[in-house]
Amino acid sequence: MNTTRRTVLKGATASGVLAGLIATGALRPTQVLAAEWNKAAFESKDATAALKGIGAAAATESKDLVIKVPDIAENGAVVPVDVTSNIPNTSSIVIMVVRNPFPLSAQFDFANGALPEVSARLKLNETSMVRALAKADGKFYSVQKEVKVTVGGCGG
C-alpha cells in the first residue's frame, strides 16, 4: 500500500491533483480521506496495461465472482454494472470496460465490515466486454461479460 501510495502521489503531483488536495484541506487527517488516484492504471489505453497498472496481470478466472450487466445496453452512456464477490477475504473490486479508450473504470477497496459488492453505472463507447476483478489475499480473480451497445431511437 505504502509504495503504491507514494508512486501514485508522485503522479498526482504532476497533474496538480495533490496541490488541489492540500489547498482544499482534503489531506487533513481528521477528514475521511479518499484514495489517491492510480494515474498510470487509469490512463492506460488498453486492458492489459491497465491490469498491469493495478498489479492484476496474472488474474485467474473465477466463478465465485459474479457480474451483472445487461446483454444489450438501453443506453451506452449509463450501463448498470453490479459486481459481487463470493471469494473469501475479498478486499477490492475493480471494473474495466475492455474496449473503452481508457479501460479501467473504477476500483473499490473495502474494509471494516463492507461486503465485497458494488453497483455502479458506466459509459460504454461501443459493444464491449465488461470485466470485473476481485483481489483476495493478494491474488486477483476475474470474470467478464459482453454488453452490446446499439443505435438508439426516440427515448420515451
Binding site: P70, P101, G156
Partner: protein, 289 residues
Amino acid sequence: MQHRVIGALCAMAVMGGVFAQTPRKPAAKPAAQAAPAPTAEAKDAATLEFEKFRAEMEDSNPAELFEAKGEEFWKSRHGPKNVSLAESCDLGQGVGKIEGAYVKMPRYFADADSVMDAERRIVWCMVEKQGFKFDDIAKRPFANENFTPDITNLVTYVAGHSRSMKVDVPLKDPKVREAYEIGKEMAAYRAGPYDFSCNTCHGSDGKRIRMQNLPNLSTPKGAMSGVQGWPGYRMTGGVMLTHQWRMGDCFRQQRFPQPKYASDAVAYLLTYMIGNANGEVYKGPGIKR
C-alpha cells in the same frame, strides 16, 4: 455497420457517442450474427432486457438531485419581488400546496384564464408572483450540457410530490374539455416535409422506432407510458428534462417548427395526452434513455 456514428432519427445532436471523438474501431460482431433474420420476438427480448434493469435504474435515479434543488428554490425567496413560491404559488390545490398537484394538471386557472400544464403554471407563478420576466425564462427553458434551469428543478420537485398517485385531469371542466378536444385534433394534424402527425408514431399499438417502443397516446395505458417518467433524467447527455421539452422534441422529429414555450399548443396537447391517462398511477420523476 458502424452503429453509433450514424445518427438515429431521434438521437440527440450533441451526442455522437459517449466518447465522440475517439477513433472508431470496428464494432464487435454480435454473437447471433450468423443466425437468420432476427424475429420480432428477439427484439422484444431486448426490450425485456432493458426492463430487467429498469427497477434498479428508477430506484437510484439522479432525478433526486434535481428534486432537491427544486425544493430549495420553491421554499426560498427569489425574483424581483423576493417572494417564495411556497408562499405565493397556487398549483390548483391551494397556495403552496404541492401534494398531488402534478397529476391534477393540466387544469383551468381562472387567475390566468388559461388551461395550464404543471410547467406552464409554475412559470406563470415565477412571472406573476416573483416578478421574473417570461422572456428570460423562455430564452433557455430546458437543460443542456451543464445547465439546468430553475424551472426544470421546480417541475421535478413538484412532480415528486405526486408519486404513486392517480392521474386526474379535470376533464369535466368545460374549459379543460375544450383544450382536450383541440389537443386531440392537433395530434392528428399531418404536415411538413414527411407528412407526419403526432399520431403517425403514437396513434397505434405495438410499434417501435428503432428499439424504442412508441406508446399509443389514444389509450389510457399508452397515454400513461407517454406521461410516465416525465420529468425524466435523460441518460443521453445526463440532463433533467420536462414533459414540455418532450413535446417539443416530438415536433422536432416530426420535422415541424418549434412549439412556443409554455404555450396553448403544448398545454392543449398535454391535456389530451395526460387526460387520456386519467386513472393510471404516476410513479414520479423518471429515468429515460
